[in-house]
């Protein structure tokens, strides 16, 4: 991972522009030189008025008082409640659905079959019902009689890999070759020259996103020529095309809205089977239909993080140089291909050879989840790295630095070691007396976080001074609303309260879906571009009021507009606008974003070696992200990452019954989420040594 994302081989033509900068404590317009095809940049990360500060969320008061209206909170006149009947077998075909008894229940309005001929996992949808209350919809599910042809299933990776295992997909082998990389002979030869060799097998469980707001939507279609869909989604623009097909409408007749959203973590894109069923029920009944998954539904078919099974063998020299790695990596994605970053992940390990496979089981397909594939690879390789360090009696931090090329990791490791108190660590594993042992460990990770060119932003300034920034993007709890507003407020020299944002509607300007940490590096540059253009439009209008300076000599600061010693207030400036106000259109600028982030996490834990119980004591995480748009929200995102990884490492995991083919823990009573009592001390640190003046995605934050 290189620090500078874009190499610049030939110098581009330059132009001179003026931008607002603080010089000797005074904000003024200063001349700088930039590439001809760009415009003003973000400026130094430590010179912002609002960005890179601690900004409280603009939707915080609504959320803290219960006023924020989520998809799950929508209730429309005449709305029906839908539920989904699910297959109780790991693998089956439906031979008959008897709806007679169910359809006679008072309040049941529609029963439709799900569009699957073969049900390949327990929990696959069989039918859907719409009724006047959710309770009656539940009655209907219990009254539907389904006859199944039960087929053989396999739900455990160790069983699925056997040659005689039942086939998950008839036409395919359970084991799918996903590619090889490197030279096995060279790696084998290198092992012979190693001072120590470690071999290990590593497994990670299938983890559930467990979004507190379950998947689902409200389809508001009453038989007319248009429809509105309230969706709990990470992609405002990923719904209407498919919904329109289901409803028999042109795509342009369907509007999607996502005002507030109760968590996604990678699992909520597109219409989905639930949306398809909701559309069909709405079309059939000509009534609004609300189909929100139950918690059980959410566990069995709303997606999960791919499990992993990895066999690693590595050789190391006494001086700490890792010289060879062989890796066999199975991606456990159920029906899907799964995901897992290739080994040796971020390390240099000399002669490496890896084989990657997808291993299918009768479980719903895994989907993206916070840095898909990375924690699985990181868990295995970091455990291996610790074992190698221990074998040659080298300090694990020094050992990592020896085998990591990128010096950003080196500085982050040094800082983390200092923050956690690495020097307190007993280098002898289990060296403390008594059954309660203390240990400190660390791990390193990376992600992309670059943006893409999809966003269209409007900044409108009214003659009364009101400012609205509009883009159809969505706020998953990542703070999109807040930084969208802050970017515009800062550019126009206003406060947070002086700008309003409109988001979460497919009638607004295009925006990318929030996947792969691409939101902020896609949205923020387009917002900045629109804000700069709005400032320049405003400058042209106001110039005659303040002695006709050039537009880029005019300073917007502190609610005032000034140049050449003359000042008017924002309101006075806005009064020069035409009746309809002015609107500036912004689009993405590649030079305002970058990709490539680094993170290092340290954890101190207490292990009861008699019971195996692990108690986390303290965690420290250092993360870079270029320009932190909002430090408060970014720290919260880092906390969230630490807490979710704690769950992943220590408590969470889907448990499948081999015989029944069903999940045994599809609820919060049995699937152990991190709770308040397990919380260690958490220290989220932003790596301000990262001087990149660019927005880089970090969990969409």
């Amino acid at each position: 991972m290189q620090q500078q994302p874009q190499a610049q081989p030939t110098p581009k033509p330059k132009k001179k522009i003026r931008v607002p900068r603080v010089v000797n404590g005074v904000e003024q317009m200063v001349e700088i030189e930039v590439d001809e095809d760009t415009g003003p940049g973000w400026g130094p990360n430590d010179k912002h008025k609002l960005l890179n500060h601690r900004i409280t969320r603009v939707d915080g008061p609504l959320k803290a008082t219960g006023v924020a209206r989520y998809t799950y909170d929508q209730r429309l006149p005449g709305m029906l409640y839908a539920r989904v009947l699910r297959c109780p077998h790991g693998h089956a075909r439906v031979t008959k659905i008897d709806r007679d008894a169910a359809s006679k229940i008072s309040g049941v309005k529609a029963i439709i079959p799900a569009p699957l001929s073969e049900l390949r996992f327990a929990g696959a949808p069989v039918a859907a019902v719409a009724a006047t209350t959710p309770e009656i919809a539940g009655d209907a599910l219990r009254a539907i009689k389904v006859t199944y042809e039960v087929l053989p299933h396999v739900v455990h990776a160790h069983h699925a890999i056997r040659p005689d295992a039942p086939k998950v997909i008839a036409e395919e082998n359970n084991l799918q070759d996903k590619g090889k990389n490197g030279d096995p002979q060279k790696a084998e030869a290198a092992f012979a020259t190693a001072d120590a060799v470690v071999e290990g097998e590593y497994m990670t469980s299938r983890i559930h996103h467990a979004c507190l707001e379950t998947h689902g939507m409200v389809v508001d279609y009453r038989g007319g020529d248009s429809a509105t869909i309230y969706a709990s989604t990470q992609g405002t623009f990923t719904i209407h095309d498919d919904a329109a097909k289901e409803l028999g409408l042109p795509a342009s007749a369907v509007t999607t809205t996502v005002e507030h959203m109760g968590g996604g973590f990678g699992s909520k894109f597109g219409l989905g089977l639930e949306g398809m069923l909701a559309c069909r029920l709405s079309k059939q009944t000509k009534s609004p239909v609300k189909l929100m998954f139950t918690r059980y539904d959410e566990f069995v078919m709303a997606g999960n993080r791919s499990g992993s099974w990895q066999k690693l063998k590595a050789g190391v020299k006494k001086d700490g140089t890792i010289i060879a790695l062989q890796a066999r990596q199975y991606r456990l994605g159920g029906l899907g291909p799964g995901s897992q970053a290739g080994q040796p992940y971020i390390y240099r390990m000399g002669d490496t050879y890896r084989e990657v496979f997808a291993l299918h089981t009768n479980e719903d397909s895994s989907v993206a989840m916070r840095a898909p594939g990375h924690p699985q690879a990181s868990f295995a390789v970091e455990t291996l790295v610790d074992e190698l360090a221990y074998k040659i009696r080298m300090d694990p931090v020094a050992f990592r630095k020896k085998n990591l090329r990128d010096e950003v990791y080196h500085r982050q490791l040094d800082r983390g070691a200092k923050e956690i108190g690495w020097s307190r660590r007993n280098p002898i594993a289990g060296g403390n007396p008594g059954p309660l042992k203390r240990g400190i460990g660390c791990a390193v990770g990376t992600w992309g976080g670059g943006g893409n060119n999809q966003c269209k932003v409007d900044v409108t300034i009214s003659r009364d001074g009101a400012v609205v920034v509009a883009i159809g993007t969505q706020d998953l709890g990542t703070g999109t609303r807040t930084y969208t507003r802050a970017i515009v407020a800062e550019e126009l020299g206003l406060g947070m309260k002086d700008v309003k944002e409109q988001i979460g509607n497919s009638r607004l300007g295009a925006a990318n879906a929030s996947g792969g940490s691409t939101t902020s590096p896609s949205v923020a540059p387009a917002v900045k571009d629109a804000a700069i253009k709005a400032r320049m439009l405003m400058a042209e209008r106001v110039a005659p009021l303040i002695g006709n300076p050039k537009p880029d000599e005019i300073l917007f600061s502190g609610g005032n507009v000034s140049a050449k010693g003359q000042t008017v207030t924002w309101k006075q400036a806005a009064a020069t606008l035409p009746a309809a106000g002015i609107t500036a259109h912004g689009q993405w600028r590649s030079d305002l974003q970058a990709r490539g982030v680094h993170g290092v996490c340290f954890a101190e834990v207490e292990v009861d070696v008699e019971t195996g119980h692990i108690k986390p004591i303290k965690m420290v995480h250092i993360q870079d992200c270029g320009l932190p748009l909002n430090r408060l929200a970014m720290e919260s995102q880092i906390n969230g990452g630490m807490i979710q990884s704690l769950g992943m490492a220590l408590w969470e995991g889907r448990v499948m019954d081999a015989k029944l083919g069903m999940q045994l823990n599809p609820g919060f009573g049995d699937y152990k989420l991190p709770g308040t009592l397990e919380m260690p001390e958490l220290v989220p640190l932003i790596d301000d040594d990262d001087k990149r003046e660019a927005v880089i995605g970090m969990s969409e934050g």
């Binding site: 803290a64 006023v67 507190l212 703070g479």
Partner: protein
């Protein structure tokens, strides 16, 4: 037909006897009271927490017919965006919310707890809201918000 005292108002609804207080608030009152969230529906997550006569309860585990003649307070009854209570204000100030779906439950639980124990320790705060789950990972800031609200 049930008559419920919700946030100081007498509210009527036509529900089956099996309908939970949570579903009655959300699906049957007009206008709806949607601050309490439906997340697990079986009393494991705390997102539906309301106060009944000042005590926090999971409204998914209470039938509406059992909640008549009692004072029901939801997160909406504790404060408004313009005039939040101390806990709500501290949640915003300390960024104790991300997606916000668990927030009404935490705010309600902590608001009730601080009345009982106006000067809690960190350990007591953790204990007080152990029946509430958050997935985004706001816990440390929830604790900070609770302690800040207690200090006033």
């Amino acid at each position: 037909k049930v008559v419920l005292d919700v946030n100081g108002q007498q509210r009527e609804a036509q529900v089956e006897p099996r309908t939970t207080l949570l579903n009655t608030l959300r699906n049957h009152l007009e206008p709806a009271v949607t601050g309490p969230k439906l997340v697990c529906d079986v009393g494991t997550c705390g997102a539906c927490t309301v106060l009944i006569d000042g005590k926090p309860v999971y409204s998914c585990l209470v039938l509406a017919v059992d909640a008549t003649k009692k004072k029901i307070t939801t997160v909406e009854g504790l404060g408004t965006p313009e005039n939040p209570n101390a806990v709500q204000a501290a949640f915003v100030e300390n960024d104790a919310l991300m997606c916000g779906f668990c927030t009404p439950g935490f705010v309600t639980t902590i608001s009730a707890y601080l009345k009982k124990n106006p000067n809690p320790s960190l350990a007591e705060v953790k204990e007080a809201c152990k029946g509430n789950f958050c997935r985004c990972g706001t816990y440390p800031r929830v604790f900070e918000a609770a302690l800040a609200a207690a200090k006033g």
